[in-house]
Amino acid sequence: MGMVTSITNYGRSGLSDWMAQRVSGVVLLCYVVFLTFFMLTNPALTFNEWEALFQQNWMRTFSLLALLSMIVHAWVGLWSVTTDYITTRQLGAIGTPLRLFLQGVAALLAFYYLVWGIQILWGI
């Protein structure tokens, strides 16, 4: 598979992808558990309380970490799915250009969500 493949990640370490997938999964789980716990312990949650939570710097950092984890998790997962199904082997000549296009769209979307998320988190 040689040199050219590193740009499309074929040369990357499979172990680091695998670890990234696990670590980001754990972070997302923690975030969901925390938010669920917060809502359960504040049943009559008002907007002001919710806003106060997100004005704490640690909560913003935690949320940003969760957002980054989501992006990593989605990227590794989608990369894996696209390299399973959207390939020359499955679709013929269109496979590789289509896969690169879809991966590009996913990367752009991820970047857009990251910027948007930071704006929301530090804009309130």
């Binding site: 074929y10 370490s13 499979g14 172990l15 992808d17 695998w18 390299t83 082997r89």
Partner: protein, 234 residues
């Protein structure tokens, strides 16, 4: 009468594969699927399949029976027939050469990649390289593989990337040599496996485990390889 449906394809005369429906009188006997195929071949010699040992040793007659891969010679009808019907197809995911015979080149190419032989460049001792009984025991559940390809051809990850994912059979053998106390190429072997495809395309679905006619567990071996890669990196 048992209803039998056979996958037929002769690339020289058929435009596309087709299913041949036929019947066979088993006289109430619980025949092996291979016996059924042999009997049908007696009446239609053009029916093509591989077989050799007819006792689950050589690994030649891996086929897909009623949706599940296995060795035709050691699969009794009672184990596979549903609603009095037996459907036999070639192993999925590999190119069909003729009828039930598939081209195993991709499967063997993956096997070759893992260097399925002992590597040890230290001078050989006078008699043999000794192992303790404990060291030898580590190879149990690994060396018994007969390379029938039932596992790899039941693995979706191998279907999609047969040129890049080693597949359960190859990985079981990769671990067989990683686990061998006499082998000194552990580092080289591991570095050849640490890309996103060779090992990490396994998603632990365990199709491989459920079909192995020798009762082996490739998923567990793959887990061991992953742990070795993890330990090497940390």
């Amino acid at each position: 009468m048992l209803n039998v449906s056979l996958y037929r394809y002769n690339p020289e005369t058929d435009e596309a594969p087709w299913m041949q429906d036929t019947q066979i009188d088993t006289a109430g006997k619980d025949l092996m699927v291979l016996d059924v195929l042999e009997r049908l071949k007696a009446t239609d010699p053009s029916l093509t399949f591989r077989r050799s040992c007819r006792e689950g040793v050589c690994g030649s007659d891996g086929v897909n029976m009623n949706g599940k891969n296995g060795l035709a010679c050691i699969t009794p009808l009672s184990e596979t027939v549903k609603n009095n019907k037996l459907v036999v197809r070639p192993l999925p995911g590999l190119p069909v050469v003729k009828d039930l015979v598939v081209d195993m080149s991709m499967f063997y190419a993956q096997y070759e990649k893992i260097q399925p032989y002992l590597i040890n460049n230290t001078p050989a001792p006078g008699i043999e390289r000794l192992q303790t009984p404990e060291e030898r025991e580590k190879l149990d559940g690994l060396y018994e593989c007969i390379l029938c390809a039932c596992c790899s051809t039941s693995c979706p990850s191998f279907w999609w990337n047969p040129d890049r994912f080693i597949g359960p059979a190859g990985l079981l053998q990769a671990y067989r040599f990683l686990a061998d106390s006499r082998d000194t190429a552990t580092e080289e072997r591991l570095s050849r496996l640490d890309d996103p495809f060779s090992v990490f395309r396994c998603h632990g679905i365990q199709n491989c485990v459920s079909v192995c006619p020798k009762g082996l567990n490739p998923t567990r071996a793959i887990g061991h390889i992953r742990n070795m890669l993890l330990q090497r990196a940390t």
